[in-house]
């Protein structure tokens, strides 16, 4: 009886782990946001990648771009890095570190601790771009969602 209980418990724990993993893997959509005054209504994933890799340094109207990132441990950043940059967040951080250490980063992103802070910064700077979870951005009146990454 004890063995059967233990086996059932093991199966249950494994099942919970699988469920937890799937939840983490899928997650909720990521919203890419810009300032309300930014004329861009939507941005393609390729263009967002260009911005986040410094391929583009200013908006079409000449306003310099300010890039915001979440902290390295954040799950939203992990999803964004995989979907947009095609790399793990750790590898992206390494690339930036290499550019910064050589002082060759043209426009490195600012890392923010919370989504609320990113929304606050994007809302107050015309050239800013950031990303947060969709639920955090959908009701914000101060920023515009330009892409939703599923």
């Amino acid at each position: 009886m004890g063995r059967i209980s233990f086996s059932l418990l093991t199966v249950l724990v494994l099942a919970l782990n699988i469920v937890a993993f799937n939840v983490e893997a899928t997650g909720e959509p990521v919203a890419v946001i810009v300032n309300k005054a930014n004329p861009a209504e939507s941005l393609s994933e390729a263009y967002i990648k260009k911005i986040y890799t410094n391929g583009v340094l200013s908006w079409p109207d000449g306003v310099p771009i300010t890039i915001y990132d979440l902290s390295l441990q954040d799950r939203v950043r992990a999803a964004f890095s995989e979907k947009i940059l095609g790399m793990s967040a750790d590898r992206v951080a390494e690339e930036w570190a290499h550019l910064k250490i050589t002082n060759h980063a043209k426009n490195p992103p600012y890392t923010m601790k919370s989504e609320a802070l990113i929304i606050r910064r994007v809302a107050s700077e015309k050239g800013a771009i950031g990303y947060v979870s969709y639920s955090a951005a959908k009701n914000s009146q101060d920023v515009r969602i330009v892409n939703t990454l599923q």
Binding site: A46, K49, K50, T53, N54, G55, V56, L57, S58, P64, L72, G86, M87, D90, R91, A93, E94, E95, W96, A97, H98, K100, I101, T102, N103, H104, K106, N107, Y110, T111, M112, K113, S114, A116, L117, R120, R121
Partner: protein, 406 residues
């Protein structure tokens, strides 16, 4: 004998034991007591309701206070975060960061032996003086330097290792696209000369042509301008410097070196470019280096290659040419990086070089990324020389870490 239990604070329940109920005095006392308690119950219920209302209000108030405090705390954290990130502000402090790597070399070389090495301890100091002006420097300590003078005479008693001011410049950056650097900087030539720091490259050894076809650092002025050509980002660098071997105040000739580099990102993940460097050195040899580089990355796979030719013109003798190339393939798999490099150089400055022949090196490396700034490396190098007695097998076991808020 009599036990009274209160369940909901105002409903008394009386349990009498069988023997106790048989006594008339006790029976009367019980009935009176029960009546009193029952009579007082409605008022106790009302009082309880009031208390509950008050408590509910207090709890609601506390919840609101808690929400306000959370918001204020969030704002405070946000302010601190902004200060920490210097968003829109200039830091009052000098930023210090750096890296270190230690390794064990296992070799069968006739001219070298196996050993532990404290390879690098490098510090980067940078300071944003204003929004446009910045000071950047890198001081490198190689092989754990120690310099000791005799107390009485002041003569150098012991000297080991290297202390090297690898970079120090004042930078003026009016926009993201343009900057000027005045001082000492890494010679902008190809890829490896700029991006070679041990925590961020899979190899511990430099390509053979590095430092043998152009100087590692240049003292002078450099301009960078970045712009787009048909949506393709193009980076350009031009510079004027003292030239190789003429660092700091030791410039021994009147001529100045000139150089340029371009890098075009054709599509995201595919870059190519060229470099040029020209210098008349202290031996009156005019050295002209031409380089081409390529960087392709697709998902976890990356290919990096460079080719350099250096023409050497001596006024009283025949011209001679150095050349070198390498191609490196890396593959990232989770926390692992697997890398292989083919390297060839016909460089007259190389110690192992036999005139007119090429030196080859084949490298394989495995990296494990413990964290984004800690990496463990195992590397195997096979160097093949025209003089086979100089052939070498070397295994390197290294740990490289980067420190500071990079």
């Amino acid at each position: 004998m009599l036990q009274i239990f209160s369940i909901y604070d105002f409903i008394p329940v009386i349990f009498l034991k069988e023997r106790a109920l048989k006594k008339p005095g006790l029976r009367i006392l019980t009935v009176i007591l029960a009546s009193c308690l029952l009579a007082s119950a409605p008022s106790r219920v009302r009082a309880g309701d009031d208390r509950l209302d008050r408590l509910e209000k207090e709890v609601t108030g506390l919840k609101q206070e808690n929400e306000d405090l959370k918001k204020r705390l969030g704002d405070l954290e946000a302010d601190q975060e902004e200060i920490r990130n210097n968003v829109g502000l200039l830091s009052k402090y000098l930023d210090v960061s750096g890296y270190a790597d230690v390794q064990y070399d296992l070799t069968d070389s006739r001219t070298d032996n196996s050993k532990f090495r404290v390879r690098h301890l490098s510090f980067f100091f940078s300071k944003d003086i204003t929004k446009e002006w910045k000071l950047f420097s890198e001081v490198d300590f190689e092989d754990a330097p120690r310099f000791e003078a005799d107390r009485n005479s002041g003569n150098l008693k012991k000297a080991q290792g290297t202390v090297f001011v690898e970079q120090v410049y004042v930078e003026y950056r009016p926009s993201f696209s343009l900057d000027a650097r005045l001082g000492r900087f890494h010679t902008p030539f190809g890829i490896w000369s700029i991006y070679h720091f041990p925590p961020y490259v899979p190899f511990q050894t430099n390509p053979l042509f590095f430092e043998n076809t152009f100087p590692e650092v240049s003292d002078g002025i450099q301009l960078r301008y970045s712009f787009s050509v048909k949506d393709m980002p193009l980076d350009t660098n031009v510079y004027v410097s003292n030239g190789g071997g003429n660092a700091g105040g030791t410039d021994g000739n009147a001529s100045k070196a000139v150089g340029a580099r371009v890098n075009l990102e054709v599509v995201p993940g595919a870059s190519l470019g060229g470099s040029y460097y020209r210098d008349r050195d202290n031996l009156n040899i005019l050295r002209s280096s031409y380089g081409a580089h390529l960087l392709l990355s697709y998902k976890a796979l990356k290919l990096q290659g460079e080719y350099v030719i250096r023409e050497n013109e001596i006024s009283s003798g025949p011209k001679f040419r150095d050349n070198g190339l390498y191609a490196a393939l890396t593959y990232d798999l989770g926390k692992w990086t697997f890398a292989a490099r083919y390297d060839r150089c016909r460089c007259n400055a190389l110690d192992e070089q036999v005139a007119g022949s090429s030196l080859f090196r084949y490298t394989g490396a495995v990296n494990y990324h413990f964290a984004h700034n800690v990496v463990g490396k195992v590397e195997y190098d096979r160097t093949v020389s025209p003089d086979r007695s100089l052939d070498e097998n070397r295994a390197i076991f290294a740990i490289a870490v980067a420190v500071g808020d990079l």
